[in-house]
Subunit: 751 residues, 2 copies
Amino acid sequence: MKARIIIFILSCFSAQFLMAQHPSLILTKAGVEQMRREGTKSPLFSASLNEVQKEVDEYIAKGIKVPVPKDLAGGYTHEQHKSNFLMLQKAGVLFQVTGNEDYARYIHETLKAYALLFPTFDRHPSERSYAPGKFFWQCLNDANWLVYVSQAYDCIYDWISEEERNALNSMLFRPMADFLSVETPQFFNRIHNHSTWANAAVGMIGLVMDDEKLVQRALYGLKSSDLKSTQVDNDGGSILQEGQEEAGFIAQIDFAFSPDGYFTEGPYYQRYAMYPFLIFAQALANKKPDLKIFEHRNGLLIKAVYALLYQTNSEGEFFPFNDAQKGMSVYSRELITAVSTAFHYGHKDEALLAIVVDQGKVSLDDAGLEAALALEKANVKPFVKPSIMFTDGPNGDEGGIGILRQYANKDELTLVMKYAKHGMGHGHFDQLSFLYYLNGDEIIQDYGAARWVNIEQKSGGGYLNENKTWAKQTVAHNTLVINNASQFGGNVTEADKYHGEPYLFNATDENIKVVSAKNNQVYKNTGLHRSMVIIKHPSFENPILLDLFRVTAKGQNNYDLPLLYQGQLMKTSFDFEVHESMEKLGNSDGYEHLWNEAEAKLTKGTSQMSWFSKNRFYTQSFVSTAKDKIIHARLGATDPEFNLRRDPILITRRTTTGNTLFASILEVHGAYSTVSEIATNTYSQIQQLEILRNDEQYSLVAFTHKNGGSWVFAISNNDNAAEAKHEVVQNGEKFAWKGSFHLFDQSSNQK
Amino acid sequence: MKARIIIFILSCFSAQFLMAQHPSLILTKAGVEQMRREGTKSPLFSASLNEVQKEVDEYIAKGIKVPVPKDLAGGYTHEQHKSNFLMLQKAGVLFQVTGNEDYARYIHETLKAYALLFPTFDRHPSERSYAPGKFFWQCLNDANWLVYVSQAYDCIYDWISEEERNALNSMLFRPMADFLSVETPQFFNRIHNHSTWANAAVGMIGLVMDDEKLVQRALYGLKSSDLKSTQVDNDGGSILQEGQEEAGFIAQIDFAFSPDGYFTEGPYYQRYAMYPFLIFAQALANKKPDLKIFEHRNGLLIKAVYALLYQTNSEGEFFPFNDAQKGMSVYSRELITAVSTAFHYGHKDEALLAIVVDQGKVSLDDAGLEAALALEKANVKPFVKPSIMFTDGPNGDEGGIGILRQYANKDELTLVMKYAKHGMGHGHFDQLSFLYYLNGDEIIQDYGAARWVNIEQKSGGGYLNENKTWAKQTVAHNTLVINNASQFGGNVTEADKYHGEPYLFNATDENIKVVSAKNNQVYKNTGLHRSMVIIKHPSFENPILLDLFRVTAKGQNNYDLPLLYQGQLMKTSFDFEVHESMEKLGNSDGYEHLWNEAEAKLTKGTSQMSWFSKNRFYTQSFVSTAKDKIIHARLGATDPEFNLRRDPILITRRTTTGNTLFASILEVHGAYSTVSEIATNTYSQIQQLEILRNDEQYSLVAFTHKNGGSWVFAISNNDNAAEAKHEVVQNGEKFAWKGSFHLFDQSSNQK
């Protein structure tokens, strides 16, 4: 029966022209005219077009392949369907811009093959996903497919006959839109990057087919679904967020972002979601201008692009907190679209053109053309990323992240401290953790995700077991682990209920930049308060990073403060006892993945460890007590599939009763060249670091330079008002300041 | 008494001019004239001059500092004296080229300070060297000092008065020349890079002072010294080589190099020695042209520069076999001088100018000027490094190294196999080991030396204990370890007596390049024969590396074949048992530094392991037997000072009786981008690898491609004649070929 219908439909297929109303999704008639007319005036646009044409021509020459789905990510059928949708979208653009009907024919033939394949099976044979897809193992990839293919379809919509259109619409596109929505509500109706793709997919094909029902479904979600709040996805994230009452594309914009444009899942997934956000928004801007989608929430989608750009290191790589593959950057295809879109639909901000120049290509659409043409006239200046705080939560009152940037010589130092929401299924238990960069190089790393995206050998390209057992655990981050247990007991649902509390963010003084935040929920009856200060002073070769991590607790606890430094250990002020055989550090919460390489008992005073990485020296100086111990751990235990990197981790371990303070200074110093073999400033400049006071009201630490300089940093722990006046007498000396913190230069007093 | 003499001498110091006969060492009157006249015509020369001037001006502005010697390498006094000599040399050039007397005054004042310091103490207080120095902990650095300072002195020789000259000559330079020679014969009279510096130092100051006695001593060594053949240096190298009868600079050229220009200590030390070789040779060419030093041994010194350039990877980094710090490259100051010198005193080979362009600077002398001016007129083409074999030994009959280069797509694959002499105190026990590069990246590494040169924290910048216990040991190399013992029992004196035997080197067929060598001395009563073949065939994405390592032995032995791969393990065809706790692999010969991470028992057939490194995939396919075991080891055990990198090492372990053959194929395949997240060709293309025959006469191996291709590689094991005809019948199939090896394409037979 099914076969007979297909034969009937195919017999109706033939190419003919209709009244031209397409393309109108991403490309527009006027835009295409302009591309043909002015595209050649821009070397960048021409080059982008030529590159795409070469790529697509080579792909078409290999023949159309629409295999029966079978593989996971990285496997043949997965990669083939993925390449197909990327190439179809590009072929659509090429058809419009060049007028060469070969591209249209390629698209039409491929879509017919998909139309024939679609009804022949139910869902993908793999059962690994909470929402198994059709052509792919998860609906997410099918939504990707439809977002891209809608654009291709839009480009040939008027070129094929009405009968052909009806056939494709009814055999492939409407069923697929239903499949991704009403048939898979757990995928469609969430506040999550997955649903953003789903919403955009359904909405875009709806716009192409002028199917208002689909468009409304995409914008406002399923009216009713029997989703339960206890359902979770593959990553342990809840399908329904607590209190969630809305769904659909508009709800994604309203609830997944803070007013600043920060996306609660973090930059790696924001980058991923940004494409459907912006591409569907472009389509809506073209087809439903009354919706004023780019003005929604004070222009939130444009702000979100800036938020993404600001959440990168000097090389344009996104901060890899939460689940994130390192190396993802502003050079990704999503950001190439995003930057042009932000230029075109935003404020024509010429600063963005510097990023376009770095990217070296533009998207082949109205926005890309405008950016490329603007580049020809603009005086492009570097894109400056400020020290900036981003709030989290739809109302901007659920924690956030603080980014401090400081410059010295030709270097950029970038600090990121995280006190945002957990970020749902892709979140890590990393409250008050930090990342620290010297230019594009990690000084103190976030491990990122334990995953090789799309590399089939490694668990089908999906998340590895070690992502849960290691990468998400607290000990995998640069923040305090209490009694060897991860924050929130490693429970996502629990973690999703809370967020950190911003205490201070101040980067107005070029020489003292501070980010400070608290969290009293991660461990029961325990207050955590971390303040990180980048101090620039001519006595020091480079800015130094002062870190004060306060704990308010009762009874005896064990505190582990991991430091995921990158590099090779040079020298320590204490004597490591290096183990003759290596045991793992524990049995759960990530400790089972750490080898205990070496241990040292510390003494009261200032302890130091130096290391070397990429031709620079680093020293961590920290206040130690006679009860402290230090462990040099090495990642890689309990790793049957060799999934983990063998990174070093320094753990300061303190067992103590009541409140305590971890104080340290991190220096970047000197340089070395394996060519000149000249080493400079190989030693720390810190002589001593000392805690003068630490209580509910104030923390005061003193530090001295080997050349005699001496400073006291004071911070109020419970009053962050800028106008508040403070006065502390310590060892007979009076410290008075205004605002919540101050750095006292004591150098002259010493004489 | 001493003080009175000094005062008397100093009272004679005053600046006045004499008849101008200097400079004549490296700079010449005519050359200086040309620099002034034509230097500005070359942007490169001007830039080099400006850079030096800026550097020297900044240095002089800090004031003259000639501290009493105290520190080891990396320490203050060491680095200060080192900077002094580098800056003095440059200041001399600046004085000559600019005529600015400030530079001459700076040199003169500094030399006076040295003259005052020199007689006030005996040798450097450190007792770590077999030849303690004066201003430095070892004479080697003092010889460096004199090589550079002689040039500075030459530049102001005519500018100061005769009395001033006499004072410096008698108070500083003659005593220093004697100190480095007659007073330290164990340093001066060797065939070794140390003595090259010593000879050049004494010879150059002799030329400046027109002291023919010193020059003769430098050229031909001490006539008599009471050195004993049992004396060794800090590195365990013999002071006297067996049969050594000559010493001095000419003997260095005659005995340290093979006729090809290969230096027996390896490229890292050749680079280091090249400066005194060439700079003293330049001085001799200027002052003693009748010696025709650059024509000596058929222009050996120029050949040696080419040999150095050929012993680099695609990034210009020297192959780090023997004691060598990785990263040392053609960008070093020694090579900047060397390349210009080879251009000027060699054949004006324009190919060298491509290296000059990469270096971006030239030496400020006649040679540098000529290279810089030539660059302005030349049509610079890339410097092509050939597949090439270098012989070792003064007569070229003591083994050597084979370098194969192959190109695919935009990549260069470089293989180096070593069967040279041991290389004295800096040699490693690495006969028949290999290195393999993809462009500048190590696929299979040589560990290099365990040392941070000039970084004081790490054992004063000198060799670390682990250099001896790990880096030199056989298990630290990609070659066979028999019965867990290093080659030659780890004895340098024994190792120095032997060398490998070249068997084949053939790179004439672009698609099959072979290097093959034997060594029957490294283990008693054991024959080793390794053949490495780079095969380029359109069936494979990239050229593949076939490795056949034959052992001829009696009785039962344990064989370990380490592979120091770089990257992260992806997938294995066998099941690793990963250890719950880690023990070291042994107690000596380097095994004490290896953790036993995981083990697997192999089965008979083809085993495979894939790994990932810098966005490329690699697979090692190898023939395994049911008696084989594989160990995944991790470096870093028994490392109390954290001196070792945590590199992975794959060890194939086979316990067997009689002869055996290790056969493997190494593939580079596919690519991955963390930005596009697209992975291609992540799997090996090898289906099977099988040994058809292995005996005294022949080895035959068969391998198949997953797409059905099939090949047999045959090699004669005891007849390397190019004209020899061979015929083998194997499983009823006849293989006939001419020459010692052949690759039979069986693909068509399979149909």
